[in-house]
Symmetry: C2
Subunit: 359 residues, 2 copies
């Protein structure tokens, strides 16, 4: 029996996608082989990868002057690959620090380039994003990096930072494909697949053409954007099963009405859950209302001793992975694209029941 899985990532996948993967497992598209068993350079898989890219371009609205790359090493790998590809001698790279993922990206970037953190929400304990007029980017910066959504704190930007001509770089791992964005506002966006796109092990990079070709000599070839772009992401063997699944997920999004419809669904799911929490004296969410994530909803119970009971009883009720991140405790409901509104309703009903029993 399928459960409602609130994992922050790897996370719930659309059931029709899993059913297709199951049905294709021994005989993909009449080939007599799994998609995992075919050469990445054969016609069938080259077409599969091209279709995944075409669907990504259509669904996300990727302009023609951007390349879509399918890489390995996760977003954490890109924390190194981005400065290796984009940092310029004598110019700083700048960051907004809004949580643990920003902080990890900053720590890794410092090993390759001088870093300026021009807005830092550590003092607010990462309970909000900085106001849009509270920081200014150095026009000489090689790029500004930010994290549009922080999975642990549950904060999300409601605006796109103003950067002038400086390339804007964004770690979209936990919010990509959750609502429409204007790709042309970014120099580079990247995202690990394991939240809204597919299985762990695939990282998608969307990068503007003019940022290619500046990689430092010591950049590993499999992370050199220009080399990977030239080789259609197949300088080496790509994570073929992940690319295949991404194609299925994108088709599911397109069939579900695209990012406009996905955004409306996600807005409704988030508003429903935050409204319930705000109206309850028993539950609370620490995040400033204008900074709340649509994807990751951390919440506390009035009595912290109840947290373990909450999580274990929820699991027994078919609502899994509700424990907060180990570094912050509490609870967290991650409600990515694949979580239906029915899952949110089931969670709220369960929360009401806990409140009645223990409140």
């Amino acid at each position: 029996m399928r459960v409602y899985n609130f994992s922050a990532g790897p996370a719930m996948l659309p059931q029709p996608v899993l059913e297709q993967a199951r049905d294709d497992m021994l005989d993909w598209d009449g080939s007599g082989m799994s998609v995992m068993e075919v050469s990445h350079r054969g016609k069938a898989f080259v077409a599969c990868a091209a279709q995944a890219e075409a669907r990504m371009r259509a669904v996300l609205g990727v302009p023609d002057n951007y390349r879509v790359l399918f890489l390995q090493g996760g977003a954490f790998g890109q924390f190194a690959a981005i400065p290796l590809n984009l940092a310029q001698a004598g110019r700083p790279v700048e960051f907004l620090n809004t949580g643990q993922w920003s902080a990890k990206a900053i720590a890794e970037a410092r090993r390759y380039a001088p870093v300026n953190v021009i807005a830092d929400e550590a003092a607010s304990k990462y309970t909000r994003v900085p106001a849009s007029d509270s920081f200014a980017v150095d026009p000489q910066a090689a790029y500004l990096h930010y994290t549009p959504n922080e999975t642990i704190g549950g904060v999300e930007f409601g605006y796109v930072p103003e950067v002038g001509q400086v390339p804007l770089v964004a770690d979209f791992s936990s919010t990509i494909l959750s609502r429409p964005i204007d790709v042309s506002q970014y120099g580079l966006i990247y995202a690990g697949a394991q939240k809204n796109m597919g299985p762990a092990g695939l990282c998608v990079v969307v990068v503007r053409d003019d940022l290619l070709g500046q990689a430092r000599p010591e950049t590993p070839s499999v992370w050199d954007y220009a080399k990977m772009a030239k080789n259609d992401s197949m300088l080496n063997t790509p994570p073929t099963f992940g690319i295949y699944l991404l194609g299925l997920v994108l088709q599911w999004i397109a069939d579900s009405g695209g990012l406009e419809a996905m955004g409306e669904r996600n807005r409704a799911k988030a508003e429903t859950l935050y409204s319930f929490i705000d109206e309850s004296p028993f539950y609370s969410n620490p995040v400033a209302p204008d900074s709340r994530s649509w994807m990751n909803v951390p919440f506390l119970v009035a009595d912290a001793d109840l947290e373990r009971t909450f999580v274990s009883e929820a699991t027994a009720a078919g609502l899994t992975n509700l424990a907060g991140h180990r570094s912050v405790g509490g609870m967290r409901a991650s409600i990515y694209n694949a979580m239906p509104i029915e899952g949110v309703h089931a969670l709220i009903n369960f929360m009401k029941q806990v409140e009645r029993t223990h409140g």
Copy 2:
């Protein structure tokens, strides 16, 4: 209907493994979730990864003073990661060049360290491995790198190079788990999963303890062996589905009699196919008999114009992916662990039929 798939990689997987993956797809181990949907830090997946590592240690015979790492970026990523982790200032790294994969590893290493190629089979057109007494390793070398099996040329070492105290580093991508090896003879072995271990996107590194902790400051964290060892390969999100499948493949090997039995099967498959080729006036294999690969068998037909016909008629007969590598032409049958002897017999019967028709 399943076919006999002779792809060089990604390659055929054992059918029982694919059946298990199919059956687990929507509900892994009674969890109500796919293994792809669960947190890598949750108890269930941590146990799954630990089991895969334990099986790898048992099947391959990994001594206690070696770490088993599950990384991303493929063997090509390791072409950079190895010099970043192991090269030492003022000391050369040395290579044996036996084919296109050695050559790629050499080209990438040159970007990080001074490289000496101490044996080079380019002159033989990569039709043999160097004689064991034809090269000598500099005792000051940081390591000697070689490629025990070359998928394109179809050459394989029948011996382990003598290195004294110099760490021996080996790209086992296309021969790992195909027969017993003595891990203690190596400083580091690594292998992309997509030939004998599982899906593309997982790279296994087995490294001796004393080689950890020497990474250069600019080593990307996700490829820093010491950091990854300290974090049980979960500094970042690992390729969870690949690790799960690796565990299933290892269980299948153990159930099939382990590497001794696997080696006997692979020897029999290879000897059967090479014997047929050698006895036929119509087919030929260019590799010196003592250097022939058990995994990748390139062959030519007397009339090169027949190659396309051969490949297309083979595909129609359920024998797929028999075209040689695009850089060398001809045909190639890759007969990894998952290829049963029946597949080799079917191939030989088909080859006889082509010879009767066109010979």
